[in-house]
Subunit: 367 residues, 2 copies
């Protein structure tokens, strides 16, 4: 008779870990949902047309496997970011790309490093891979401790730019300094770059250790379709191709991604609106004397102060709960000590942002 014990049959690292917990996704649409940095407007009308066309009269194309390489989507990425053929790579959301990088470039000998705070998924992926994960705190004023990162001994650097969850954007010189000096792969996670002034994409032609990662979720209004990408030297792309799933993107996601990248005019217009709401929200926080990080993203990390001027985890939790009871959903990170006195607000439509501001004022009066 067999001897079976699930814990013993599970790898030690997975047996002792918890999965990544994403932000809440309420199933009704009654919410003012400002918790997971989604684009507040629908995707380009071209996206809808492209999907409908691929489905056709009887959806018969869906019975056939998709292009395993997502070749047309790769070409669309290269065109959009001004890169030669062979520099583009597509995957099932940018989280998928992050996972592939961990699998290809880290193991028990090769560790990963990121600044703290950064996107909290990195450490979960490292745990699954059973690799060492080094977190190096930002210096005072959220300055980058370049030397500490470069001398960390890690083989894979995750550099979130603009940063999450602070929203701070770093100049392209920061990326270049890492690419020039880090003894390993420099992965720049640019999920939020559509809301900042620049992308490091052109640098992948110059640096053979640089991977620029992007997603259609934040800047192209397609979080529901799971389309992410990597831009890098073709030799790096070859490595990512070895470890990815053969058919990693379905037919509808591939055509949706292509259509979105092809309608820059629409997205440029919508991003102007989002950036304008972001600036207005920061002015609002100024008017209340609430501290926040000046954002280059589509969200703001801010620290609410109650009517008596107090801030802290309890105040943040109280304001979060107050908003939640009024169907306004922000993101709160109670377990992350460096930011648990703050809340993160995704920039929504004008109407949504006005609702938030009104509720904030009411909380101050009632509190």
């Amino acid at each position: 008779m067999r001897k079976f014990n699930l814990k013993n049959s599970t790898t030690a690292n997975v047996a002792s870990m918890s999965g990544y917990v994403p932000g809440e996704q309420p199933s009704t649409r009654a919410w003012v949902k400002l918790n997971t940095n989604e684009f507040p407007y629908p995707p380009s009308p071209k996206v809808r047309s492209a999907i409908i066309s691929e489905i056709g009269a009887d959806a018969s194309k869906l019975r056939l496997y998709p292009d395993p390489l997502s070749s047309s989507l790769r070409r669309a990425l290269e065109k959009r970011f001004g890169l030669p053929t062979g520099f583009g790579f597509a995957a099932n959301g940018s989280d998928d790309v992050l996972n592939l990088a961990v699998r290809a470039f880290t193991d028990s000998q090769k560790s990963a490093v990121s600044l703290d705070p950064s996107y909290s998924l990195y450490s979960v992926l490292a745990k699954i891979q059973n690799t060492k994960f080094i977190e190096i705190p930002f210096k005072r004023g959220m300055e980058i401790p370049f030397d500490d990162v470069i001398s960390s001994g890690a083989n894979l650097l995750f550099f979130t730019n603009p940063n999450a969850p602070t929203g701070i954007g770093f100049p392209i010189e920061a990326v270049e300094r890492f690419a020039k000096n880090f003894n390993g792969i420099v992965l720049v996670d640019e999920a939020y770059s559509p809301f900042s002034a620049f992308t490091a994409a052109p640098l992948v032609k110059k640096y053979d250790n640089l991977i620029v990662v992007g997603t259609s979720s934040k800047g192209w209004g397609l979080a529901g379709m799971r389309i992410g990408w990597a831009l890098a030297n073709p030799k790096i792309i070859d490595i990512l191709d070895r470890v990815r799933d053969s058919y990693n993107l379905d037919r509808l996601a591939q055509v949706a991604g292509i259509a979105a990248l092809d309608d820059e005019a629409y997205y440029a217009k919508m991003r102007v609106k989002i950036i304008s709401e972001r600036e207005a929200c920061q002015t609002f926080f100024d008017s209340l004397s609430w501290p926040y990080f000046k954002s280059s993203s589509n969200f703001i990390l801010f620290t609410p102060r109650d009517a008596g001027g107090k801030s802290g985890p309890k105040v943040a939790a109280n304001f979060f709960g107050y908003l939640r009871s009024r169907k306004i959903l922000l993101r709160y990170f109670p377990r992350e000590k460096s930011i648990n006195m703050s809340l993160r607000i995704s920039i929504g439509t004008h109407v949504q942002m006005e609702k938030f501001k009104k509720a904030a004022k009411a909380w101050l009066k009632e509190g």
Copy 2:
């Protein structure tokens, strides 16, 4: 200045491997495509309706993240396979599930085992994970060497049933014998079970080490949408949840999967047609005295004999090329020695199968 060498920065196992090579996916529709075991009919009309409804008038739902748990799809799977709540799990194709199992249940200490021949992806996934992969050959007449598998010392067993690439289906007693006696996780890969007499799904209620894996690609006409699943004890599902991508299935794939599972009447009718064509094709091979494995799948592995009665790798390659030049695409595995005298034909529509038979007869005349 940095020291960077891509090979040194890549894990040793990934640096030395090649990726999995999937079957050819021609970009035009001019082919009689019988090479990757796709369903020859469109998916249920309910699938099209469900996707169109989710897209809506302006595709605005696509801007929102999907349900990270694919909860409704899990409930649809549990209903379809008669299992209690908590036994269903959905992922980006069944390849994704296989990958998650390798990550959760194998490492440098815990190895994987499968019978040979089986689905060739297993060994690629083991290589990425840097785990030992044991292949145990089938006995004469494709009998299962139960004792060799059970005493292999592996922690994860991949049991493909019906088998790929032979198409042979094994009775449920074989699954039960493994579940009862194997000291680790027994993963039954049932990609082709819609074309056989049974599924081992009900056994997951009885055996806490059993995972039954399925896909909508073969039996539900949705290869283009990447919807796979696992059925297992909730404790195993919890482990898979820890290592999966948070948003592993996009919105349209989730609703497509639910709609397909909900239209068993349509699929039952179409599968009868496919099974009938399969039986007719076997009769055709009998008439030519071409050996084949009696199939419980939607494909047949057969050994072509030329006009002089000869078979072998050269004959197979010749017949494959002959068909290819006539836009009829089968699958040939030149590098797999145990089957390189054979070809695999996916069962198509009646019209497609007649074209194949006609071409086979012409080849015999011309050859």
